[in-house]
Each structure stands twice: as structure tokens, then as C-alpha cells.
Symmetry: C2
Subunit: 671 residues, 2 copies
Amino acid sequence: MASSSPSPGASLDEWRKNATFDGGKMRVILQGGREKLSLKDEIWQTLEKDTLFKKPNRQLSLDEVRLLTHQRWKKVIEYGFVCDPYAEYEKFSALLEVLEEFDTALQARVTLHSNVFMGALTSMGTEKHAKLIEKGNRNEIVGCFALTELSHGSNTQNIQTIASYENGKLVFKTPHIGAMKVWSGNLAQSATHAVVFAQLNVGGKCEGVHGFVIQVRDEKTHRTLPGIRIGDMGEKPGQWNGVENGWMIFENYSCSPDALLNRGCELTDDGRYVHSFKSDRDKKSVSLGALSIGRIGIVGKGVNACRVAATIGIRYSAVRKQFGPPNGEELPILSYPLQRRRLLPALSAAISIGFFQTKMVDLFAQYMARVLSGEKSDELGELSKEVHGLSSCCKPRSTWLGVNALAEARAACGGHGFLYISRLNELRDTYDPSQTFEGENNILVQQASNYLLSQKKQGVLSSPMGSTDFLQSRPCTFTGWKGDSIENVISAYEWLLHHTLNKTEKALEERKRRGEDAFTARNETQIDTAHPLAIAYAELTMIKWAIEGVEEIEDEKCRCVLRRVIGLFALSQLQPHLDLLYIGGYCSGPEFGTRVKEEQLSLELSLSPECVSLVDALAPPDFALASALGASDGRAYEHMVEDFRSREIDRAPFADDLVRVIQANKDKAKL
Amino acid sequence: MASSSPSPGASLDEWRKNATFDGGKMRVILQGGREKLSLKDEIWQTLEKDTLFKKPNRQLSLDEVRLLTHQRWKKVIEYGFVCDPYAEYEKFSALLEVLEEFDTALQARVTLHSNVFMGALTSMGTEKHAKLIEKGNRNEIVGCFALTELSHGSNTQNIQTIASYENGKLVFKTPHIGAMKVWSGNLAQSATHAVVFAQLNVGGKCEGVHGFVIQVRDEKTHRTLPGIRIGDMGEKPGQWNGVENGWMIFENYSCSPDALLNRGCELTDDGRYVHSFKSDRDKKSVSLGALSIGRIGIVGKGVNACRVAATIGIRYSAVRKQFGPPNGEELPILSYPLQRRRLLPALSAAISIGFFQTKMVDLFAQYMARVLSGEKSDELGELSKEVHGLSSCCKPRSTWLGVNALAEARAACGGHGFLYISRLNELRDTYDPSQTFEGENNILVQQASNYLLSQKKQGVLSSPMGSTDFLQSRPCTFTGWKGDSIENVISAYEWLLHHTLNKTEKALEERKRRGEDAFTARNETQIDTAHPLAIAYAELTMIKWAIEGVEEIEDEKCRCVLRRVIGLFALSQLQPHLDLLYIGGYCSGPEFGTRVKEEQLSLELSLSPECVSLVDALAPPDFALASALGASDGRAYEHMVEDFRSREIDRAPFADDLVRVIQANKDKAKL
């Protein structure tokens, strides 16, 4: 075999020549601006030079990956990319983006301490905890967050761990196996401290769920403290073995009452519990408010999943040739409409939700600054509800899209997509849990429909962030395709939102009239009503904010191609709602549905010459993606063969045994 | 913590009490009848007693799993469950079902030799190969099948490996890296022989793709023979590391011309190639006919995937409690309509496609018997086309459903579903490649639409298996819901098939009129036309054959509940086509779509008390499923805790290093 023979694949550079825009400019736009991009690139370059960050071409064992994650975490701290996460917010967020794109587990190792644990201390603690916060910022302790229990995840208000205030001490108990703390990341092996949620018991009375910060391991010996038992949750799919999810059982663990994260409440020296919460809701908003920041972050995980799915899927499809016209050359499979349908919507989602996410993060940062400043205005109350409602449906929408994009990209790459070195299954498994953590998606979306229902009931037609402004519009049925695709899609969504909102409201009223309790009525009105309402709310807001983001772009060529990208996202999101649009009477006859389908096909065709360069603007560096199929040089075949050649086999380890079996079968036949 | 505390979960036995049918009778029905069930149970019992078949609660390394698969394969042979796969067909098929449910890789280890390699020898070879067939049947050789090349999978006619007939010898060459054989299971470590496909070159003329059987390793030393290089493809997801997929490069490997699998053709001693094929199509039907049996088998993989998804998802959801009415107890999550929607369609698919598959396998066996007897009738020709057309869309439909069912079940089990010991991600990854092997699904379905188009063109309105009989009906638009759900669904499908068939045909004609070649025209008319046509064809046939199977059941209670199951399958399959039914004009206004959705909801409610017992009738034994969440005793929490407790950690292996890092950070702060 001639090793100098030409590559069997097509050239990515040929595809790149066809793009209508400047790749460098597009990369700046899609990576969050010049400043953030240069911060990210600097970190990427450092990591790329360090062999510790070279990805192996096989799955590591649990012990191997734990050690490697520990070593990488240590190295990230040593590099000192960021000294103070709060003062250097831009730098810290660039670092987290890089780590997330490099390895989810490593990102989790950092954020579980710096964002989740420290965030809880900051938002729920008081000056009593200032010293611990300082130590945390300097990495002199390792923190974890322990809320979920074996038998309670979504229903956090019903957790069963008990913290009793007895004789001036807080005593933690795990009353039964259902109450053991589970899934706490960093807990199994590294944590010295934990934020723990428990039912606070004072003088025989349960005061409800509260947060506490406790020490779990000795700082010098790193052994578990008496009264606590800690263990590992075992193996998990994807990159998650790198995260030490732990379980914890309390056997009368006792500590100072200063452990209570006492913003708004206090344990007095004479054994009482006092608080300044106006309502139960008020209390919950302190103790569990820390969670909504997580959901907004996870929208970004969906974006990332779509990015890597599109990157690997599109690059490989641009290179892979199969079949062709009679007597012609074989064509790259990306030339086929069906293959574009499998990959281009994921690309459009990565870009569109990316724009949405940028705006959402900005608005959320402004919101949090107002909350932390102690503002208590009505408008802030409204904003708080909107943040909660919108994040509760956008996190599900984004993560579903991301996981599905990776699954589809795997299959679209055919058999070779199934190789470990394609990374697609590992990535799918890596993003899979984003669908269930920080709120199982199907339960979470119910928060969004509840929010819209309560807004409507109270007659609140607009919202601080503008996401419910559609309530002010008068929904119109379809009378003909007018203007561009996005306008038509938005009109259909606005009608659909009114329609499903009214339908849900009526169904709930009807059930209540029949004597059903509110809980049952809500459960029975999810499918075909509240559920699609919440999803449509997420999608419409994503589309609107994405197009807003695009209109602000100065470079005309980039803006022009990105408009088409958002158009494809809008059309592909609307498609699954066509049935409800017809059944509900938004449209009838062939025009609307046919047009939606035709416009999507035509945008996919028009984006075909752009998509390789769009992917270049989104993709992480090759060493981080580490996909033989998705490398930016387009030499997918060569990368596979390089790996294969390193696995040449002369004889299997069990060859002697096999020869014996074969001989025995021969001997048997002779009898 | 009191270890005697009651389980936090609900009881599976309470659910079981609500079923309206006899569980034992149902198990006989759903496991293929009394005889097959007792054959399967016998094998299950033997394996369960053998510790070699105990599943570890962690992922094994590549080397570990290879060795274990080899040992298990050896043990299966030693047990002698089946002496002659052909003479004891029923027993052999029971064995394969058990192995598939136990571990896909082990099943592959057996079938790649016994079915794929031996099947190719039998169907393509002649008396020249009788001796090798005998040796194969006695496991004196280990066979593999090498068709796919690095740059050619779907387009098998364009493979590049060359077999030249020179000086009385066949000489094999791999002309470039794109032509290396890849993905050949059993090749990397075990195979002594391979069926290899190559372009046959005689006297400078290429005679097209032919099959050959060659020896690849020395039988005594088990070393690779000169002129051949073999290696491993590296790691793969799910259970597939147990399969030694290999690559192979030929460097002028030379062997006797008897290697040619010469049914219908011959290499003469004077260096010529002669054949008795009437046409190119005739030749292909010999050399590649061996593949359609594989596709029908893979329909069963989809069924199995749905089975285990439903088993784990439903059992855990019946036990897991979360939320509840105000002041009431928490409810098992299976009580919520949204949770049922996520799991019951998978259960209905497992059962419905199971009935379809049983009939399909029977008909295929009859067909193969006629082919092997040498029959050459027109009716057999028609049957051959139908087998090809139908298997080409049912394999995709079934495997898509199976993989999606596992993904959905994982998320429906929440966080705990993500534990390795739930097995759901491993199973999803295990079934994932069924979507791309033996024909990538999206390419394969095109064979089905091509078949329907050619039938219509030729005016053939009925077919030997009856699957195209709908062509005889006059499609009617919807005029009101009449009779039971299934009748309504079938009418809608028949209309949809006529509609999409006409639409595809017209679109193709229009494109040809505009001068497009047939290849391009076909590619451009997949989305929204040929693709949904093929899918609908698969679904309608599955529904019809499933209901036929159910009507033959004697026990009335079983029949009654299974009718509802098939009804749910029918409605849930039709739902995604509602848009085309409205756009195309089958229906307008709310009635049809609303009714389809209402009927599905109501069947899901009515099957809620049945589903745990239905799952019992389908499930593999606990030791084979090996899922902490899906155990038949319903003690999901206890099984998880047992595993967790075995992973109690006092101190991480890297604790010393961690303490040093923390101390260093403290020292830094003091400076």
C-alpha cells in the first residue's frame, strides 16, 4: 500500500473558499467579542503546550481519571489564570468556558467549589462566614454542595436530613437510607467543607429547609470527621467519572450553630430560632435562590453540545464521500439534503441560543447585582419571577437540543462516528445529565407555564426583560405568508402562546370546577397544553433575542449570513408545533405548513457553502476537541489510520487458550 | 441511621395486583410461545448459576472485557446448548435471544461466526467449500466477515480492495488507506478465516465485487499470515468493547483460486473468469443477498432496546415517589401522565414490533427455504423485492425507536438513571450502532421508497406478504372518527401512503423533466416525500401485523389488554405525521388531531395499572438486566445503597498531594 497515496476524503479548504464572510470576524462575533476571545485564546495556548492536557485515545479507569482531574485542577490553579473570581469576572468566565469546552469534569471540579459552594456561602451566609469565604477564595479549603438525597431530588422541600439545635450544638442525623445525601460533586474524595441542606429542628419544631456549612474532613489528615460517613457513587457515563460525586450519611454529627447560613434568620444562645422572613416564599427565595444561576449556566451546556455536534458532524460530512451521480465522482455527504437536515439545525441552534444566552447572562448579572445590593422593589420582584420562569424552560430546551444534536451527529457520521476517537458518544453521555440536573427538564418546564399562567391571571402583560410582551399582542390567525420567514414564524409562535395559554387556563378551571385539587389539575394539563406552552415560550424568546443580537452586528456580510442561520433555527423549532397550529385553527390548507417546510429546505441549501466556515468560528481547538473525525485539517481518514496503526496485533493475549479450544474441537470430531 | 427503616420506595407488588390478566400466560405469549420460553428459561438458569456470567458493577477495561467475552464464549460452547445450528434451529434461536438480552457483544461473538461468516459460505460458496463449512460448524475455525472499508460503507459496490487472478493464484492488495478493511468483528484477535469482498481482477479486467474465503491466521501458532496485517479499531461505547472489531491490510497476500465463493461463477485453470449470471442485478443478488437476513435480525435489536428501556423505566417509576397532593403522601412518579407518556409508548413498541418481528422472521425463513431450494419463480422474485423493501424501512424504524426509548428512559429515571448501575446509558450506547450497521438508517429507508415507487410504476398493487395491499385501496379523506382507534389510524396511514407516494412520484418526474439525473432527483425528494413514505410504510405494516398477531391469542384477558397496547403503538406512531395529514388535506379542523391526542392519553391511563405486569412478561432475568433501578423486587433504593456502601472512602489516593496544595495556598496567603 502506497503511503503517499492521496487522501480518500474531500478537502475542507475547498469548502472554506465558498463562505461569503470573513472567518476571523465571525469568530470574534461568535466567541463573545474580541476581549473575551483573546482571554480564551491565551488560556487555550497555555493548555495546549502542557502535556498534562493531552487527551488519551481511550477511556481511562475511574482511578486514572480522578487522579488526572486532580492534577489538571492543581495545574489550572498554579497557572494563576485568575486570582480573584469576583474582581476578574471576565477572565474567570473565559476560563470556565475554556474548561467546559476542554472537559466538563474539570470545569465541574472548579465551579462546584468556586460558584456553587462559594455562591451559597455568599448569598445565604453572613459576616459570620466571611473568614471561610476568604479561605475558599484562596483555595485553602475545598467545598461541595449537598442538597439532593437518595429519595428526594426535584422535591427539595421534602428532604429528610435533620439538623437539630440541642444544648447549644447543631446535630445532624440521617434518619433512613432515603435521606442519605447523594450526587454531591467534589465530596467523595476532595472536599473539606460542605454546604448541607436539612430540616432545621429547634425545640421539637421543624422550621423547614435551611442551609448549613460544615467541615467534613480534617484539613491536615484529610480523614472524614467523626459522625460522618462518606463514599463514592460509583461509575458514570461520559466524562463524569472525573467528578467525585459522593454520598454522605450523618450519624449524630455535631458542630457549632454558626454552621447555619443565617441570612434572614438566627439561632439564639438560649436555644430559640428567630427569623425576619415575611413569608414562606420569602424564605425559600433565600435558601434555594442560589439554584437559578445554575440553570442559566446550563443553557450554555446545551449550546456547547450543539457546537461540538455541529463541528464534528459537519467537518466529517464535508470530507466523507459516498455515492455520486452516474459515471461521476462520489460526492461529500454534506451535499445531500438529508445530511444537511441532520446537522445544520444543530449549527443554527448553537449560534441562536448562543446569542440568547449572552443576553440572558448579562441581564442576570444586572439582576443579581440589584439583589445583592439589598433592593426590594416590586419591579425587582417581577424580574425575579421572570428570571425563574424563563430559565426554567430555556435550560430544558437548550439541553434537549444539545443532547439530541450529539446523538444525531453520531449517527450522521455512520459507523466511524461510533469509534471512541470520534468522541461523539462520550460527548453525548457527557451532556446527557444536563437534562436532569438542577431540575429534571420535564418538571422544570412546569415552572415556566406556572409563571405565564400567574402573569395572565394577574393581568401583567409585560415583563422587565420583555419576554412576556407577547401577551399584549392580539393573536391573529394565518392569512398568507408575508415578509421574511422569521416574521412569519414569530406570528405563529405568538398565536400559539395565546392559544396554549388559554387552553391550559381553561382546562385548569374546568378541573377545579370538578373538584380536583390544584396539584392534580396541573399534572393532568401538562401534555398538549402547559408543556407545549412552556416550550414555545422558550423558543420564541430565544428566536427574538437571537435576532436582536444579530441586528447589532456591524459587519454586513456576517450579519447577513447569521440572519439566515437564525431563520433556520426559527423554522426548525416551529416545525414540531405544526400539528397544534392546524388543530387549533391558526392555519388550514397547505400553504402555511408547506411554506415552513420549503423555507427550511431552502435555507439549508443556502447555508451549505457557509457551514464549514461557521463551524470554524465556533469550534474549540483541535487538541481540546480531540476528535479524529472533527479535526480542522479535514484529515479524518489519516487520523483514524494513525490510531489504528498503533493497535496492530500479532497475537491476542488469549491466543494460547483459543488454540487449545480449536484443537479440542478437532479432537472431539475425530472420536 | 436505622438499617431496619422502611424502604423509601413504593411496592411493585401493589402495582402487580392491579393487572387484569394472568402474568404467566402473558409471559408465554410475549416470549414467543411455551416451547421457546422453556428453551430460553433452561439456558437462563444455567447461566445464572455460573459466576462467569455475573455482571460487574463497573466498566471493564478493553483487555478485561475481551478476555471475559472469550471466556464466556468458550463456556457457551462447552455447555453445548446447541450441537447443530441448522438442525436445531429453534434451540439456536432461543440461545441467540438469550445471549442478545444478556450481552450484545457475546451474541455478536457467536453470530458473527455462525450466522454471518457461515451464512456467506453457505449462500455464496459451492461444494468446494463443504469441508470448511463442516469445520466451521464444529468451531474448528473462527470466522469473520470483511466487507466495509475505511472509505466505503454504504456504497459497497465501490469498495477498492483488489483480488487479482495471476498465474493460477489469487493475490489480494489494499491499494490505498481508504481500502483497508475495517469494522470486521472477531477479526482483531480471534479469527482464523475471513470472508473478504474485493473487486475481482482477471487479465486486467475488473469483474466487479466478489466474495472470497481466506485464511488469515495460522491455526497452530495463531499468528497473522504473511501478506496480511491486522489490528484493532480501538475503543467503542457501550458493550461493544467486547467485540474485537478489526482492520486488515493486504500486502500482496496470495492464495489458491478456490478462495472465490463461486456460486454462479468460476476461475478457470487457464486464467479466465466465467459466469452464469443473467444480469448485474442477478450477480449482486448472490454476493450481497446475505445481508438482508441481518437487517431482519436487527429489527429484533430495536425490540430488545424498547423492552429493557420499558422494564427499567417503568419499574423504577413505579417505585420512585416524588411530590403529591397537598397534605397527602408523595405519589409514585408513574402516576403522572407526563411520566407515562415518556415510558408507555416504548412498552407498546416493544410488544407491537415484537409481534411484527415474529411474523417477519417466519415469512423470511419460508422465503429462504425456497431460495436455497433453487426456485426461480416470478412470485419468488416479487417476494424477494418485498423482503428487501420492508426490511429496509423496518430495521431503521425499530432501531430509532429502541435507541430513543433508552435515552428517554434514562432521563425519565432522573439523576439516578445516570449511575452506571442503572445500565441505561450503557444500553443506549450498546443499541446506538444498530442505527448505522448493516445499512445506515437514512440511506436504508430509501430502498423502501424505491421499492414502493417501482411497484406503483409497474402497476403491481398487491404483494406476496401483503404489505403493499394498501395500493389497492382508494384512499379517503377523514369524514369523522368511526369505530376503534386502530381503524382510524390505519385509514389515515393508507391515505398518507397514497399521498406521499404520489407526491414523491410527481416530484421525481418533475425533476427528471427539468433534466436532473435519477440519482440527484432521488436525493432531492427525500425530505417530506420519500422519507416519510418509507417510514409510514414500515409503521402501517407493523401495526397491521401486530394486531393480526394479537387477534390469534386465545386468552381473552391477554388479548384484550394487548389490543390496547397495539392501539397505543398505532396512535403514538401516527402523531408525528399529523402535520402532513393536515397539510396534505386528509383532515381539517380540530376533530381528527384532537381525537388522536385524546385517545393516546386515555390509553396511557388505562394501561397504567397493567404496565408493571406487562414489563414482567417481557423482562430478562434480574442477573442479566443487572440494573439497580430495574430489579423485579422493586428494591431500587436498597440496591443502590448496597453498591454505594461498597464504595465508602476514608481518604482519596491523592489526599497527601491535596493536603500539600492546601498548605501551599495557606502559606502563600501569609506572605
